[in-house]
Every structure is written in structure tokens, then in C-alpha cells.
Symmetry: C2
Subunit: 113 residues, 2 copies
Amino acid sequence: MTKGRDKMIPGTLNVLILKCLSHGALHGYGVSRWIHERADDVLRVEEGVLYPALHRLERDGLIEAEWGINDTGRRAKFYSLTARGERELDAETDRWRRRSAAVSGLLDLSPGN
Amino acid sequence: MTKGRDKMIPGTLNVLILKCLSHGALHGYGVSRWIHERADDVLRVEEGVLYPALHRLERDGLIEAEWGINDTGRRAKFYSLTARGERELDAETDRWRRRSAAVSGLLDLSPGN
DNA sequence: TGCGTTACCTATGTTGTCTAGGTAATTACC
DNA sequence: GGTAATTACCTAGACAACATAGGTAACGCA
């Protein structure tokens, strides 16, 4: 139905952001590139989706932001995981594994049941 | 975050319904049970979610409905896949595999990258 | 000077899910 | 005979999230 490049699986963006930040603090633009590059172009986060998501996660206390300077001396807002964010990452990762396995299991059923 | 029983992964309900109907015509209530039982209680479709989804799929020409009688002589609306629905099932299944593999791949990355 | 990239942001529309109802017929139980 | 559970269908309203389409600004480079 959706033509062209793939976007996100709804409901997976938060956990992907948390996962990305578990490797260290990073700014929004970097998160977007991280997801896109490591997913081999299969997933892409539009900026109009990413920034609101970062703000929600910050509002919910799962990540926290701090203005800083990147490698090239440019100012950027660096996000990092809070303790709650780490716990949430673990919980949501488990949740994803359980549920995606269930979906894949159903889709793998052969026509004869 | 979400307590108790799991619900759907957003965006997967349509393809699961199509998959279910690929085993033969079935009424809405049966689709709901099929998903719930085969997913070992990991996924559950509430009726308030299922019926609107069936109506959307019918509106989009992916399934078609016909009133009939079930095993126990009770009247029920049986849904079956159209040709377009079958093609859509294949396309969406591929799409799911590609994207869920990407998500799982990211979540499986070890902390050191 | 102008383009591309990095970096951030918001607004609006649309869709989909969640919750919470409601109807009606049949079956099972007390 | 009454009532509860099950099967089977449906809608309405709220909310969250994604898609799209904008916009700002600073920097590097040709």
C-alpha cells in the first residue's frame, strides 16, 4: 500500500530512540541518522516525527536533554537515557520480542492451518 | 508501560486479518478468536477495534462480506479474501518481515555499538 | 552568492487504536 | 421460568502517533 521507502512500524519509534541513546548521549539529528544507517535504509524517521517523539520522551522522564557542542563545534541538544529510560528500554524490548514473534508466527502459518 | 495483557502492534491488524481469512471465509468473531488463540494470548483484538478494521478492509476491496449460517445454525457475516486482498496479504507480509527484521536487528545491537 | 548539510522546530491532517458502551439471539444453568 | 454466559454484531468518542509540509538558522564550500 505504501509506496517507495519504508517508514516506521508504528509503536516502535520510542524503543528505537531509547536503544540508540543507550550507546551514549546523542543529538536528535544523530539519532535519526543512526536509525536510518543501521537499518540499511529499511526504516526512516522523518524529522517531523522524531522531534515530537524526543519531546514526549523527555516530558515522560525517559530521556533528558542538555545543550552542548558536537565534534565540529556546532551547538546541538544532546539527549541521554535516564534510569527510568533504561528500565523502559529493557521492558519495551522484551515486549517487542514477544509481540513481534507472535505476529511473525501467525504470518508464517501455512495455508493448511 | 502497558499493564496486563498485550494488545496489537499498531499497523499489524490488517495483515493478520487477511492472513486469517486466507485459510477460508470466517466471521468477525471467529477472526478475533483465531488471532487470540494462535497467538497464545500474546495478542488480543478488541471487538471495537476489529469490526471497524473489517469494514475498512471491505471498503478498500481487500475482503468481501456475505451473510451466512455458521456450524451451530446461527447467522453470521462471513468475510473472504478478494484477489486484491491476496496480493495485499503477500505484499504486507513481505513488508512486515523486512521491517520487523530491521527493528529486531537494531534492538539486538550490543551496547558496544 | 548560493547551495548543501547539519540541526532544530511547529502545525495540521489523517489514521488507527483504546475504551466503553449498546443490541440481539442462543445455550446453559439454577 | 428466569438469568447468566456466550456468540455475534455494531457505533461513538477520545486520544496518541504518524505523515506531510512547512519554517529557521548556522556553517562549509565552490
